[in-house]
């Protein structure tokens, strides 16, 4: 599903050159739920940005769903992002002026679906996250957990093959966080590949595989299921 080989990302200013990713190698298979952890500044967010084609990279190769994205132009990256990837952000990133219906509608409009199809997808996805009865509400009228559920609905509405979650529970209390994690696991079980960036090791344990990033490189890979079996 996602293969990064020797990916490099360098941020340059006049005085400083920062290697955010150095020879970053990672393979995520279809249907996997992978958690990426690591300390602040380790390169987690840079990895997420590159994986989501929000940023370009300086070297190496990145193949997403069988397509080498290294040399795509801005329009092609936007199209691929819209079709293949669903994003869940730490601060939800809902558009405050739009109600829930219109928020979920945003990526679907860029996809070019007709009104009927969009309406059906929006209703389905809001139903999935249990907010179908709040479609006309504004984000500010919802709790943090509910807002994150809307963000998940927005990510799901396009029926992406790949979900990228950036600290999806970072702004939630533990009960809300667990609820969101359960929703993500349920989505994963329905076949969607998920890569979740988190600094919370306990949350990471709920993914099937943990990647630990340090100094811009993958330093450890744990199969959580095998660890659980071993611990038992």
């Amino acid at each position: 599903m996602l293969t990064m080989t020797n990916v490099k990302k360098v941020f340059r200013t006049d005085l400083v050159e920062t290697h955010a990713l150095r020879d970053f190698n990672l393979q995520v298979n279809e249907g996997e739920f992978v958690a990426v952890t690591g300390p602040s500044g380790s390169g987690k967010t840079t990895f997420l940005n590159i994986a989501g084609m929000l940023e370009t990279f300086n070297g190496g190769s990145y193949v997403l769903d069988g397509q080498d994205v290294s040399h795509l132009n801005d329009n092609q990256r936007s199209k691929l992002r819209n079709e293949k990837i669903g994003f869940i952000f730490q601060s939800y990133n809902l558009i405050p002026d739009l109600n829930l219906f219109d928020n979920v509608d945003v990526p679907l409009r860029y996809r070019g679906f007709d009104a009927k199809e969009r309406k059906q997808r929006i209703e389905e996805s809001l139903e999935t996250v249990g907010l179908a009865n709040r479609m006309k509400h504004l984000p500010s009228q919802l709790s943090g957990g509910q807002q994150q559920r809307v963000a998940i609905a927005r990510a799901l509405a396009g029926k992406p093959r790949f979900l990228l979650a950036d600290e999806p529970t970072g702004n939630l209390d533990s009960a809300m966080a667990q609820s969101v994690m359960e929703l993500l696991q349920s989505i994963n079980q329905s076949g969607t590949t998920i890569v979740m960036v988190t600094h919370d090791p306990q949350l990471a344990q709920q993914a099937a595989r943990n990647i630990y990033v340090k100094d811009g490189q993958v330093s450890e890979v744990h199969d959580v299921l095998k660890m659980h079996v071993a611990n038992a």
Binding site: S78, K79, F87, F89, S91, I95, D97
Partner: protein, 404 residues
């Protein structure tokens, strides 16, 4: 895909800024459209032909004062001498100068009697050389002959029995027949004095350029026997300026009079329309200033909007918006604001025009100025918003993953 619904709903939640711009667009439209209409109207007025051979004509005044000054003899001699100057095509004595701002007016009517309304007309007293000197085209009938011309004393109140009128005047007097058929018809001056229309000329404007009846003129076959006279001289092409000097020197030889007020018709025309020209300049400045101010307002609002919504733009980009989608979003948003503005503006434009029609007696604006104004204002809005919208495309989608 156009985001009309979401943009409209989002605008409703942040309506103050947008509404202010819409109101600004409305006022701008009302002022600009009315200004353009007035400019066009004034500019058309300044381009109206007077009927004269303007480039080759001038006039000069002479006021006799000596005890032995004989008006009739002087006029006859002056005209003979002036016509003898090389380059002079024709010369006449005339009581008033077209488009100069000062002259005579009377009223002609088709039925005798004070109870009947007449049609206002400028009066030019000329001899049989009048058509040639003024450069007029005879459309129907005939010119005066020498025997038609009489000498008019200052105290004279009667009128000759022949008259030549402009085509416009003939059509006003006899609206139901072709102008050519008005030749031979009798009209009445001073309520009851008959005059027979002997000829129709194409065009000769009255002295007053702002007069509603500016195209209504009549030629009366007479010389004025007076010490203060005005001569109208037409020269061969290109010889006006040199002839002016010669005519002035010629008249100045008679020491029993003062010669002054020599002006070319081009100068007279420029002076008469100076008010129009000034108004056109002022209104053009108003239009340019308002367009700039409104454009800057739109640029300001759009720039503020882009800065305020940086994160939102990044989120949209992350969710699949292409750069062109970002540009389309802002341009569509502006089009909706401008749309409201020009709809309000259409009403304001009509209201302002009605006010101007009442206050300044201008003609009502043609309807098509409104839709053209709406389109132009919307285009100005689109041009103004393009810069900030283009700038918004520079916002990276990666901004979506930043928490601050």
């Amino acid at each position: 895909m156009l985001e009309l619904g979401p943009i409209f709903r989002a605008l409703l939640r942040n309506k103050v800024g947008a509404l202010l711009i819409a109101v600004q667009i409305a006022f701008t439209m009302a002022i600009i459209v009315n200004s353009v209409f007035i400019i066009y109207e004034r500019s058309q007025e300044t381009k109206r032909p007077s009927g004269l051979d303007e480039a080759n004509s001038f006039f000069i005044s002479s006021s006799g004062f000596g005890e032995n000054f004989g008006a009739k003899a002087t006029i006859e001699k002056d005209l003979t001498d002036i016509r003898a100057i090389s380059g002079v095509v024709s010369a006449i004595q005339i009581n008033a100068i077209p488009v100069s701002g000062g002259g005579w007016s009377m009223s002609l009517q088709t039925e005798p009697g004070a109870e009947h309304d007449g049609v206002g007309t400028a009066v030019y007293m000329v001899n049989e050389n009048g058509l040639d000197a003024l450069g007029l085209e005879l459309l129907a009938g005939e010119n005066f002959v020498a025997s038609d011309i009489r000498w008019r004393q200052n105290s004279e109140s009667t009128w000759p029995d022949k008259v030549i009128v402009t085509k416009a005047m003939a059509e006003r007097l006899f609206p139901d027949i072709d102008y050519g058929q008005s030749v031979g018809k009798t009209v009445y001056i001073n309520d009851n004095e008959p005059m027979i229309i002997v000829g129709i000329i194409d065009k000769l404007q009255a002295p007053w350029v702002g007069w509603n009846n500016v195209e209504n003129s009549m030629l009366s076959p007479e010389h004025q026997e007076t010490d203060s006279v005005r001569y109208f001289i037409r020269t061969a092409p290109g010889q006006r300026d040199s002839t002016m000097k010669q005519v002035e020197e010629l008249l100045a030889k008679n020491k029993e009079r003062v010669v002054d007020g020599m002006r070319s018709i081009e100068y007279v025309r420029e002076r008469s329309y100076r008010g129009h020209t000034a108004m056109i300049k002022i209104l053009t400045t108003v239009i340019i200033t308002l367009t700039i101010v409104t454009s800057l307002g739109i640029v300001g609002l759009a720039s503020f909007s882009v800065n305020r919504r940086k994160k939102q733009i990044g989120i949209r980009r992350a969710l699949g918006a292409r750069k062109i989608d970002v540009i389309k979003y802002f341009m569509l948003e502006n089009l909706m604001i401008s749309g409201v503005g020009v709809l309000l503006g259409a009403g304001l434009t009509i209201a302002l025009n009605m006010l101007l029609v009442k206050a300044l007696s201008i003609t009502p604006m043609d309807w098509f100025y409104i839709p053209i104004g709406m389109i132009v204002l919307c285009l100005i809005g689109q041009l103004a918003v393009y810069g900030p919208a283009k700038k918004a495309t520079g916002i990276a989608p990666a901004i979506a993953t930043r928490t601050v």
